[in-house]
């Protein structure tokens, strides 16, 4: 027990957008949550929707809220400032990316279960691909505060996407698909080098399905414990719709209540289909 899960109020509530920061290909949206818990756990997520004009975009969508792990949480005098990293790839993320300061953001959360501490005798290694860097940011902060800065290895598509790496500070190693920032390489190559140097590690990974599957297979082969923050199309985020299942050795499990952070050892594959946001 004692799982990293902060409970959410069941009511959908409204937070106020306080900051919109453009980070190359991404937007970092910050909203002040006055009515939620002040201690979400890194890896947990929120269901987000613009409070107004949610619908009527491309294909007359969005309709459902969108699930996002929080990237950063700061306790302020009048609430919790929650930051989310977004990329406009569909009607939901397009609307969220267009949020302006003072606009209302409807949310439910924090939901799901977050990252667990590293296995005894191992050091944490954080591996992010693209927007999957988001939940690793708050986890990096927490680990740094409690046990020293963890290794952070990030891969991005292009220089525009790699601008998000600045959030992690200078110690993060970065590679890109096109070599425009850092080496032209996959982030899993950085992981291999890291484990060659010292295999006593717990891996925390978040990124696209192909990357997570590469991390899973690699860690399984090296017998290195890994926790994967996974994504799936989700309608509700609290276990009601049964839409976000992934196959595990225990059958299908719901990412929203049994994840989104999943022990890689129970997965048959990390290749699960997401839906366009």
């Amino acid at each position: 027990m004692n799982e990293p899960r902060t409970l959410a109020p069941p009511e959908r509530r409204v937070a106020t957008v306080s900051g919109v920061e453009r980070l190359g290909a991404y937007d970092l949206i910050t909203a002040l949550d006055r009515f939620g818990p002040s201690d979400p756990r890194p890896g947990q997520f929120y269901m987000l929707a613009a409070a107004r004009e949610w619908g009527g975009g491309g294909d007359e969508r969005p309709y459902l809220p969108r699930a996002f792990s929080y990237a950063r949480a700061r306790v302020e005098s009048d609430g919790l400032a929650l930051s989310f990293l977004l990329e406009a790839v569909g009607p939901g993320t397009e609307r969220l990316s267009a949020l302006a300061p003072e606009e209302d953001l409807a949310l439910v959360g924090p939901l799901g279960v977050g990252f667990r501490p590293p296995a005894d005798g191992t050091r944490p290694v954080l591996v992010g691909g693209g927007i999957g860097a988001a939940p690793l940011l708050c986890w990096q902060e927490e680990l740094a505060a409690n046990r020293g800065s963890p290794a952070v290895r990030l891969g991005f598509r292009s220089a525009a996407h790699a601008q998000a790496a600045a959030l992690f500070g200078p110690s993060a190693q970065v590679v890109t698909d096109d070599g425009s920032v850092g080496r032209q390489a996959l982030v899993t190559e950085l992981l291999a080098t890291e484990l060659d140097d010292d295999p006593r590690a717990t891996i925390y990974a978040c990124g696209p399905p192909q990357m997570l599957e590469a991390v899973r297979a690699f860690c399984a082969e090296r017998e290195v414990p890994a926790q994967l923050a996974m994504e799936s199309g989700m309608a509700c985020g609290f276990g009601a719709c049964f839409g976000c299942v992934v196959p595990t050795s225990n059958g299908y499990v719901r990412l929203c209540v049994d994840g989104p952070v999943i022990n890689a050892a129970v997965l048959e594959t990390a290749l699960v289909a997401g839906t366009g946001h």
């Binding site: 409970l7 009601a240 209540v257």
Partner: protein, 312 residues
């Protein structure tokens, strides 16, 4: 405070707002929300996910597709099977429902939804679930094929009547028949269910729907096709509820895209005795409570209701 209380098939309810089967999981919601869930429980009666005789894993993912103002799901009724449900889920659900309304001995009434792939199987389920004291009512999910005849039970008045005649003697508890909107004449099915001993009908279940992968043009959903729900189906649901309510004497539970008190009032105005909230709970877990409050406000004002939407 207005008195919202009502009754359904002789079961006293604190109000008229239920959930649609398969759209809320009390056990998972308690994990996410803790005691706040039972302190502010969203529904006046709770309908379980559908239970089948054998355990089911459900359909392979992907299971969801967002449509304009709605959702297609292809979940495939994952559940622990009758024995697993009775052993572990039922006591846990009943405990949370008891805590949700301490003013009643058993708390919020529980409706258990069951589905059988043949009449005898359905009868076994009804008998086993019906004898449990925690269960106030049963709902028959008849949106499945009868393996003996190949016909979808709820799509056909004769199949529905035969199923009801078979299961009716198995329990004295109220039996609700969940009607499928994918029938030629849902009102005829409702009438057949009533004549064969149903105590109430509920509708609509989801409408059949499909989505293709944007690139490959293959079915997106792991189960190939699925069921459409949400505001996209509300107008269709309202018409079917009106048609059924005009045809039967037994109570009708109306649902289909209800997202506000005004929508709920529309369904009540065409003859529903109670309403259920489904997909809207996905957007807001406590939508049921909000809709109940909005509905109570509407009845308090006593003014002629504005239509929920119009073309003007």
């Amino acid at each position: 405070m207005s008195d919202r209380s009502t009754e359904l098939c002789g079961v006293a309810l604190r109000g008229p707002v239920l959930n649609g089967s398969g759209t809320f999981d009390v056990i998972a919601a308690r994990r996410a929300f803790g005691d706040a869930l039972v302190e502010r429980f969203p529904f006046d009666a709770f309908v379980s996910k559908t239970i089948t005789l054998a355990p089911r894993q459900g359909n392979p993912p992907p299971r969801l597709w967002e449509t304009p103002a709605g959702l297609i799901n292809s979940i495939g009724l994952p559940n622990k099977g009758l024995d697993g449900f009775l052993e572990s889920d039922l006591p846990e659900i009943a405990q949370s429902l008891k805590e949700s309304d301490p003013s009643r001995p058993r708390g919020i009434p529980l409706v258990v939804s069951v589905m059988g792939f043949g009449r005898d199987e359905l009868a076994n389920l009804v008998a086993a679930v019906g004898e449990r004291a925690e269960v106030a009512m049963l709902e028959l999910n008849v949106s499945c094929p009868n393996v003996e005849t190949g016909l979808v039970i709820g799509a056909d008045p004769v199949e529905t009547a035969l199923a009801l005649e078979r299961v009716r003697p198995e329990t004295t508890k109220p039996l609700i028949v969940k009607l499928t909107p994918n029938a030629v004449d849902p009102a005829a099915v409702a009438a057949a269910a009533q004549d064969a001993g149903a105590d109430a009908v509920s509708l609509v279940n989801t409408l059949k729907g499909m989505a293709l992968h944007p690139r490959t043009k293959q079915p997106w959903l792991g189960g190939r096709a699925g069921g459409v729900s949400g505001p996209a189906v509300r107008a269709i649901a309202l018409e079917q509820v009106a048609a059924v309510a005009g045809r039967v004497e037994i109570p009708v539970i109306g649902m289909g895209g209800i997202a506000s008190g005004r929508h709920a009032a529309d369904f009540l105005a065409v003859g529903a005795s109670a309403i259920a909230v489904g997909t809207e709970s996905f957007r807001d877990p406590t939508a049921g409570r909000r809709i109940a409050a909005e509905l109570a406000d509407l009845s308090l004002t006593g003014e002629p209701r504005q239509p929920a939407s119009s073309t003007v």
